[in-house]
Symmetry: C2
Subunit: 757 residues, 2 copies
């Protein structure tokens, strides 16, 4: 049975090879005209320079954190009368796992980003030849990041597991690995914050001074901040989201492994612990097949498509690939359950259905939830449905009503996803709770169903199987966005721009979907991570009452309220950080226009290039400086609450903060996305009014089109600008924050127990 550990290791290594071959495919493509290459080079240099400086800062913080965590755990363990060697063991293993987690996250971000920024000019060049080729280059370029993230997380956890198993009881190993998850979260927090602040500071700076004040179009080479803006798309969406999902896969794997421990103890089948890793490996295979299905021969070229929108053609292929991935994942999770969870000993299941099948079904629930999330996100952020149209209609009465309606949509859009999550959570718990443990050695706590909790874990594993595919679609976004910019700045023909524009539009949708997927999986995982924390508490205190997190207890109540407040306060800091960094950028762009009038010279031949590098540098420094305060608040608040109010209060904080994070992130992501698409709706010429100024159907030919440069369009730009830090800085940072809270509490559980015995 133990041999199953080799499945994730082998699949992980093969996936690294797969990513390498994808990278080779992309890098062999031609890089376009010299004009394109020049822009691409500037983006590449800016992005890598930011990443280098950001990771250097994060590395220092991480080493610092690792030493402190190790020292604290050593002290706590030692004071709790553990032997010196046990204490030392816990301390160094956690610290080393932390550093490896941080390192793997860094490596996957770095390589993924390298390939992504190398893919943009190649996509632009491919677009001069065909839609199919452009789609292939951008998607495969994005897939390098997607597959590396999942593979390195899987390899990291598997190899540490294998190593730490030596000389340890298997049941103790998962809690020694939690440091890996904490390391990953730690890096992700700063990567997402830094990237999110960078991208929006540059975006706001470029738009406000360039588009509004100087009145030049988007992506115009005269705008000093244009390269910083293009760099920002990469460091925010690509590196940031990669680190986010690296952390998700790591934290949720480890949490599920901890939950598997008691089932392992009862059944002596190590499959319960290894299950998350094996299923994740199967998910990688499913994602790879889904990805490879998309090939030039299935893409209908626009010139043969009888007027069909190239974006629609591309989106359809991405959807088919996703459905293939989901279908194969469903098979994979059932097969995985059969292979690993097929225990007889001390296990009882109802209705004569074998236990593994109940869990397989729970896994399918998770997969169905991921599909539901894709559609709900589309409903709230795509122009074909009510919410975006409602915002578009509100632009007719100005920016104030645009904002009010967008916020109403954002508040509203919380309901459906939460209902879907609640249903999935309840159903997977119900399915899992059909399986009960009958081992007399396991302490059964009344009201706690180990099978039910493991059911929610399996559902989470099911949902995350398609992670690599989703991430490939996500990184596809900044690549196509950049390709569009390069096409524009390289002065390409209209048809080429049509293709890159269409792919860019698809990229916006896929980026929104990834955010929905990210928060959905985080929500589904919340209960599992929380339960894992309680298991860890029990392993330290051996008291059954730790399994009750009683909100009627005043400390738990206060901690929960403070947790919810942390979510709001952290969002405030993240949004404000964008403002601070954007301010410096605005000043710099204004300075360049003022001091160097040749940038805007009348005749093209008189013009000189603005100083792009300085804007890149300002964004870089601004983002790095601004990410520190929210990061510190996020790390220290849970620690202070746990130290002062104790482990049960910490659990209450974790739970309610997670709920708050889910709800607020949904608000921020979908509200921001809806504003963005309301603007696109108007730019696409879909806003039509009758003679009384009321909105009519977007295809009603009697209506007057109000398009770019109209007053409603200006109002929609205000909405979009407000939504930018919501959906690209605060919202995604909340995803990371709620998982960071889980991993911090898991790692520091011994501290809280020691202080509140």
């Amino acid at each position: 049975m133990n041999n199953y550990i080799w499945i994730p290791i082998v699949v992980g290594l093969l996936t690294v090879l797969f990513a390498w071959s994808l990278a080779r495919y992309v890098l062999r493509k031609d890089t376009g005209t010299p004009a394109m290459q020049k822009v691409a080079d500037a983006i590449f240099k800016g992005a890598m320079a930011f990443l280098n400086r950001q990771y250097r800062t994060i590395a220092i913080l991480a080493i610092f954190a690792a030493v402190i965590v190790g020292a604290v755990l050593f002290e706590v363990s030692h004071l709790s009368n553990a032997s010196l060697s046990t204490s030392l063991d816990l301390a160094w293993r956690t610290a080393v796992a932390f550093l490896i987690g941080a390192l793997c996250s860094g490596i996957s971000g770095y390589i993924g980003m390298y390939v992504a920024v190398k893919s943009n000019s190649r996509t632009a060049s491919a677009a001069t030849r065909s839609l199919g080729e452009a789609l292939m280059v951008s998607l495969r370029g994005g897939a390098v990041s997607g597959f590396l993230v999942v593979a390195l997380s899987l390899l990291g956890v598997s190899l540490i597991f294998l190593t730490y198993k030596i000389g340890n009881n298997i049941e103790n190993v998962p809690s020694l690995i939690v440091g890996f998850g904490f390391g990953a979260s730690f890096v992700a927090l700063f990567a997402q914050l830094g990237g999110g602040i960078y991208t929006k500071a540059a975006d706001v700076g470029a738009d406000l001074v360039g588009k509004v004040e100087a009145n030049i179009p988007e992506d115009d080479p005269r705008n000093p901040a244009v390269i910083a803006d293009l760099v920002g798309d990469n460091v925010g969406d690509c590196a940031g989201r990669g680190a986010d999902l690296f952390e998700s896969t790591a934290a949720e794997n480890i949490g599920a492994m901890i939950l598997g421990v008691s089932l392992y103890v009862a059944t002596q089948n190590v499959g319960w612990i290894l299950f998350p890793l094996v299923v994740r490996a199967f998910g990688l295979i499913a994602s790879a097949i889904g990805l490879l299905w998309i090939r030039p021969s299935v893409v209908v070229e626009p010139n043969k498509a009888e007027g069909r929108d190239p974006g629609e053609i591309a989106m359809k292929q991405l959807n088919i690939g996703y459905w293939i991935t989901c279908f194969l994942s469903a098979i994979g999770v059932v097969v995985g359950s059969y292979l690993l969870l097929n225990s007889d000993k001390n296990i009882h299941s109802t209705y004569g259905v074998p236990g593994w099948l109940w869990f397989g079904l729970a896994g399918i629930v998770g997969i169905v939830l991921s599909i539901a999330f894709v559609y709900i996100t589309q409903y709230y952020t795509a122009g074909t449905w009510r919410p975006v149209r409602e915002i578009a209609a509100a632009t007719l009465t100005g920016p104030a009503t645009t904002i009010i309606t967008g916020i109403a949509v954002g508040f509203e859009c919380v309901a459906l996803p939460v209902l879907a999550i609640s249903a999935a959570l309840g159903l997977s718990f119900f399915l899992g709770s059909q399986v009960t443990i009958t081992d007399p050695h396991i302490v059964t706590i009344p009201g706690v169903s180990i099978g039910g909790i493991f059911g929610t874990a399996v559902a989470t594993m099911g949902m995350l199987m398609s992670c690599a595919y989703i991430l490939a679609m996500d990184t596809f976004g900044p690549i196509t966005d950049n390709a569009g910019g390069i096409t524009e700045m390289g002065g390409q023909a209209e048809e080429v721009r049509d293709i890159t524009d269409a792919l860019d539009g698809v990229g916006n949708t896929t980026k929104a979907l990834t955010k929905g997927y990210g928060i959905g999986s985080a929500a589904l995982a919340a209960f599992l991570l929380f339960s894992a924390y309680l298991d860890v508490l029990y392993s330290h205190s051996h008291k059954a009452e730790v399994y009750k997190v009683d909100l009627a207890n005043i400390s738990v109540f206060i901690a929960a309220l403070l947790g919810l407040t942390l979510i709001f306060f952290f969002s405030a800091l993240a949004i404000r950080a964008v403002g601070a960094a954007a301010k410096r950028m605005i000043e710099e762009v204004r300075r360049q226009f003022r001091e160097n009038p040749k940038i805007m010279a009348e005749r093209v031949e008189d013009r000189v290039d603005p100083d792009y590098a300085r804007c890149v540098d300002i964004s870089t420094r601004g983002a790095l400086r601004a990410m520190i305060l929210p990061g510190i608040v996020a790390v220290f608040t849970p620690i202070i609450i746990g130290v002062v109010l104790g482990p049960q209060a910490e659990a209450g904080m974790l739970m309610v903060a997670t709920m708050g994070g889910i709800v607020l992130a949904l608000f921020l992501n979908n509200g921001g996305g809806a504003w963005d698409n309301a603007k696109k709706y108007i730019e696409a010429g879909y806003l039509r009014v009758n003679k009384d100024g009321e909105m009519v159907d977007r295809l009603d030919l009697n209506g007057t089109v109000l398009g770019k440069k109209s007053e409603p369009h200006k109002a929609s730009v205000v909405g979009d600008t407000v939504g930018d830090p919501f959906k690209d800085t605060a919202g995604p940072s909340l995803h990371v924050l709620i998982k960071l809270l889980s991993t911090i509490t898991l790692v520091l559980a011994p501290l809280y127990v020691a202080l509140h015995p």
Copy 2:
């Protein structure tokens, strides 16, 4: 001991007399010039017409609800094997209490509003004579509403208690009264929703068409929506907030009485049950003294004040009155504790300090919290501090940054109040937990401190002692606002307008303070109401485990998540309702301008009055229609959750929804208030910039002033408009919602227990 019940009854009756004498004082004042009277009459008719129709709708809904509640309780009780007479008794008593609660809320709203709208022209007229007189008339006019609300709530609860006590054990009586609280909440929900929607629909309509499109000033008689706007200030702030705090005082009294039951059982001292009523009566006395302190002889008239701002002079007097109220309340709560909580039997307290003194100190904690809230709210919404200035600076870069900064301020401003609440809750619990019950008949539940919970209840009582004074200051707001409108429309001199403007500015501050006070007391009361619900559950099920609300239980977890979602979804509906009602208003105002050009005739003598009544009618119908959906969602969601997931899950929903409501209401209220005051900051000429366009100090004479009609001012108007439905519709409705959740769960507890035994 039992005789203490006469204190609230006598004080309540005296307070009604006091309110009557205040009303007589106001109504005897002269009503100003015929021009003033004409406007005042129009406002009076519009406000009373709305109130009549609104209360008619609410009355129908309430009778319907009372019958259903009675029928459900009868069925549930009967099915649970109670005798027919017991079941009938529970059913009719709850239904009757519900109707009396609804009726008292209606009466106090009606009379308070009547006097308030009669006070506006009298204030305007008094302003022609002196600041002192204008302050007296407006404050005393507002005090009628404030004192009636508290007195009727107190009388209602006391008299029902006295009546229901006949033939019943005292310990059963408090849970029979909960219907009164539910009735009050029920009315408050619709009153606040209807009033909040009305006021903002009229405001947005008047501003967007009148000020922006037709380019006429605020409160201009040519604007068809101007009367509706002035009516709105009354029905939203005066009637809505009155119903809100009526409900608070009722629900929190009853909750505290329920908590007193077990202490009564142990000590046989009925003082524990009557304590909330007696302390509230003492609070009324303190508030009356504080109010009477403000008299013309202490007000320095502006012409003798050497350039001091009249608003500052008035605010200082209001503050002194408030400090007097707080000081007397502190004495009152200690005396009340000594008189009523001075039990020896079965009571043990620590450090040799008598038990009553511990509780007296807990009451003082509540009073200190109310003062802290006043200052925190001022910090976030007054122009003298960072947050408002930050927003004012953001207006320099347009509406988008104005909104982003305002939202960041709103998210941030959650932290300090929550820290203050947490500290007060923890401290009052600690003080109360120094007192323990040693009666062997009382089931002691490990980890539950009856004294501690009662301590938080006493703190809540302490905080709410100044309720009548705060409400007087609140209703003062719409009166002075209306007086300003009447002065403007009646064409009064500049000096008169200066006084009403100054008082209007003070009114804005006091309105913001009341909202802060409302949410602060709701937050402090949350733990007590929640604990009362658990006591009620125990009285039905007699199982000690009902006292644990375990978030690790999947149903509790899901219910809590759904509760948090309800808060967001309800806010979306409330905000959207404003949009829907405002749309109809905008269309009507545009129609009048289009069809009747004489309204805007060049020469004053050619002008005709617009059809004000039609706008009032449209606001009325729009608000009544729009309040139904959010109201129904608010009432049915908790019922469905309790029925499907059971009483413990309901408790989790209640708790986390309350936390969410507190946090989101703080965001909405303070964010909205900060935008409003950023606009006022600019209008006051405080926004100054240097030659690079950066903001400098508001008194820096080298800076250029950017005032009304400048681009930053326009951006600030966008911010203010966005903030309007936040702070005047959604935020205040959330106050009501979280208390409605408590009273619904209290009343329907038998249903949940019966379905989930």
